[in-house]
């Protein structure tokens, strides 16, 4: 009994001491430790990794990057590792939309880092990184939520203003509700030369767009018991927004095949009036070498649905520490370092959105002399307030894959909206049952 008590108190002491040591001198000293890491690769993400050398210099540890891959291939690789029991590395890039798929392999960071450090991140991002009470990842400055880009001059054109007022009975201004988007998109559309708006049409992309529209209409994707509930009235309203614009030819006919690259190129070509898109495109749209609408781009927060809530499907990248990692303190120190203020400033300076309160303030202050950048940041900060991640089900991606062909079928007119949603809900139900989640 005594022995047991002693063991427990020693454990507690060690824990407290460990925590305190970290709080005082993060990043700490880890002489002789080597951390194996799997990181997301690609231009946009790799700039940050120059900071790894700084961490190595500060702590005396070494980082061995054993894999650097694109988002989707990294996902495949981690799943393969789980399948063959080869999770023998320490630090991995993670994403809030993918994290629920890897139950159990990542450790709870609350136990490794002091609470005041975790408080410094934006609360919504921490909430999206927490699964079943475990903080599985630290968010880096790669936060994505959408805002509405539009072409300024068509809103300033006096003829447009007069004609719009006459037709719809209210003043033409950048939209604040999705209903206004519908009106304006139809008003501006002049196929095949010019379109009112466009939307992503396949894979997780359209399912995500449908999901946020559903929430803005007051519906739920999965109900409190985790059952599919998107074939509700709100669901029909949400999906009808897509169907309506498609049948009115206010969006390009190819929109059901578009992914993010097509959307970005389309808006940059100057043939689309309004475009809900990600922050990564902000610089591209305003670059005269890349975009025809450069200098003519306005940005506002994402519009509201009939429930009064803004759409706000979001996701962020981050880093996780594996359960099987031998030196979790060192690993936690590394991922803290890669997401601390200096690191986030480094990333956010290039355009992506930060996930620390202090860095938000900093980027906005930095943008004081740049009206476009300021407008962008304000719109996205407003969007971030109402942002939420995808439902935290391990089967989310699988459900997406089953649901999106049904959404497309409704948009193309192969099925009625209700029929498509019912079929999709049935498939989603089956997937959740097969996965043992229901």
């Amino acid at each position: 009994m005594n022995k047991l008590l002693a063991g427990v108190s020693a454990g507690v002491l060690a824990f407290v001491a460990g925590g305190a040591a970290l709080a005082q001198d993060l990043p700490g000293k880890f002489e002789g430790v080597t951390i194996d890491a799997k990181l997301i690769g690609g231009q946009q993400y790799e700039n940050l990794y120059s900071r790894i050398a700084d961490w190595e210099a500060a702590t005396g540890a070494k980082v061995n990057v054993i894999s650097k891959k694109n988002h989707f291939d990294l996902d495949k690789e981690i799943k393969s590792d789980i399948a063959v029991g080869a999770v023998n590395w320490c630090v991995g890039s993670n994403h809030s939309s993918f994290a629920p798929q890897y139950p159990g392999i990542y450790t709870d960071l609350n136990a490794l880092l002091p609470a005041e450090e975790i408080d410094a991140y934006v609360d919504a991002n921490i909430a999206a990184s927490t699964l079943d009470g475990k903080l599985v990842m630290l968010p880096r400055a790669q936060f994505d939520v959408s805002a509405l880009y539009y072409q300024k001059d068509i809103y300033e054109n006096e003829d447009n203003k007069a004609a719009f007022k006459e037709q719809y009975g209210y003043d033409l201004a950048p939209p604040d509700t999705w209903e206004q988007v519908t009106d304006q998109a139809k008003f501006f559309a002049n196929p095949p030369d010019f379109y009112g708006t466009q939307y992503a049409g396949k894979e997780e992309a359209i399912n995500g767009r449908f999901y946020e529209m559903l929430r803005a209409e007051g519906g739920e994707y999965l109900d409190a018991d985790g059952r599919p509930a998107f074939n509700s009235e709100a669901g029909v309203r949400a999906l009808n927004w897509f169907v309506d614009l498609y049948s009115a030819k206010a969006v390009p006919a190819g929109t059901t095949n578009y992914l993010w690259d097509d959307l970005g190129q389309g808006f940059a070509s100057g043939t689309v009036a309004i475009n809900l898109d990600w922050p990564g495109w902000a610089g591209f749209f305003n670059d005269p070498g890349a975009s025809k609408v450069a200098g003519n781009v306005g940005v506002v927060a994402p519009p509201k649905g009939s429930s009064g809530a803004r759409t706000g499907w979001s996701g962020h990248h981050g880093f996780s520490v594996t359960e099987s990692c031998e030196n979790k303190e060192a690993a936690a120190s590394l991922i803290w370092f890669l997401t601390n203020e200096d690191s986030q400033k480094l990333e956010a300076a290039a355009g992506p959105l930060p996930t620390r309160d202090a860095v938000w303030d900093w980027v906005i202050a930095e943008a004081a002399d740049d009206p476009y950048r300021k407008e962008v940041l304000q719109a996205f900060q407003e969007a971030a307030k109402g942002a939420y991640p995808v439902p935290q089900s391990p089967s989310w991606i699988e459900i997406s894959n089953a649901v999106y062909p049904q959404l497309q079928a409704a948009i193309l007119g192969d099925k009625t909206t209700q029929q498509a949603l019912d079929d999709a809900a049935e498939e989603a139900q089956e997937i959740l049952e097969d996965a043992g989640e229901l």
């Binding site: 690609g42 993400y45 650097k68 063959v84 993010w260 690259d261 990600w278 005269p288």
Partner: protein, 288 residues
């Protein structure tokens, strides 16, 4: 006289038709590729323009400069990718050709039991869908510890290319009349000498085309490479292409620039190797 002129007219018409056909075919082949090359040299605003900009206003090498300027300045580790691609493709092609020549020669020149079955079995290994193979292969490689190594990639590509190098080379050896080699042996050559001095030169067009084909398959292969490579230790150029994609954005111009870097060596090599195809002409001469 009249008939003669009509004949000549017909001939020149045929010739013109041939030239026009050739030109059209080449144009269709080149245009999409040319468009990629052009995309790497033009500002993106002109590529995706509507109304289209047909004649580039401005040519720049910015995308290439950026590619080599190192990580963090829009660059990617292109030199490492390039090195890996060269090592893996060249080695695996050479091995696949050697294995294929041995196998093809056996099929063409020896009689043995179960020949057809074995031959068919070889071909059927190619019918296995890559996806059914990729995870188990990954599993085996992970156990052997050859994930993310040149060796692992070379092994996989040799297996990928062996079935058709065997087949193709077999076909060409069959075309070489058996009595030629026998005659050489009667003249005092060993079988080995007869092979290199008589049969090999005659089968060269087949070996050359199998070689080009194997090389291009390895050079461009993506599905297996994305599964079996992980870092700059072994990542190849096709996998590197995806460095230009982010979650929501794609740098199409950068991608095209890397594509050009991939195409130039392949094109050069093809240009050099394909002259061996010509030796087929001499085979006619030998027989005639």
């Amino acid at each position: 006289m009249d008939e003669n002129a009509g004949h000549r007219l017909k001939r020149s018409l045929l010739k013109a038709g041939h030239l026009i056909g050739l030109f059209l075919a080449m144009a269709i082949i080149c245009l999409p590729g040319f468009w990629i090359v052009l995309s790497s040299l033009r500002p993106t605003v002109e590529i995706m323009a509507k109304p289209p900009v047909w004649i580039p206003n401005e040519i720049s090498f910015d995308a290439y400069v950026a590619m080599f300027s190192g990580v963090g300045q829009g660059g990617i580790p292109v030199l490492e990718y390039f090195r890996n691609s060269v090592i893996i493709s060249v080695t695996s092609t050479v091995i696949a050709l050697a294995v294929g020549m041995a196998g093809g020669y056996a099929f063409a020149r020896y009689r043995f039991r179960g020949k057809t079955a074995i031959f068919l079995g070889f071909m059927l290994t190619r019918t296995v869908p890559g996806i059914a193979l990729s995870l188990p292969l990954f599993f085996v490689y992970a156990k052997l510890g050859i994930i993310d190594t040149h060796f692992g990639m070379i092994l996989a590509y040799v297996a990928l290319n062996v079935p058709f190098t065997v087949w193709l080379i077999d076909g060409f050896f069959r075309q070489v009349p058996r009595d030629l080699a026998e005659a050489a042996q009667i003249d005092g050559c060993t079988r080995w000498q007869a092979f290199w001095q008589v049969e090999f030169p005659l089968a060269r067009p087949g070996i050359a085309s199998a070689g080009i084909f194997a090389f291009l398959i390895s050079w461009n292969e993506f599905a297996l490479a994305s599964q079996l490579t992980r870092s700059t230790n072994s990542k190849t150029l096709p996998v590197g292409l995806l460095d230009y994609t982010a979650e929501f954005t794609i740098d199409w111009r950068g991608m095209c620039a890397l594509a050009v870097v991939m195409i130039i060596p392949a094109l050069t090599l093809t240009f050099i190797v394909q002259k061996h195809l010509v030796s087929g002409l001499t085979s006619g001469a030998v027989k005639g």
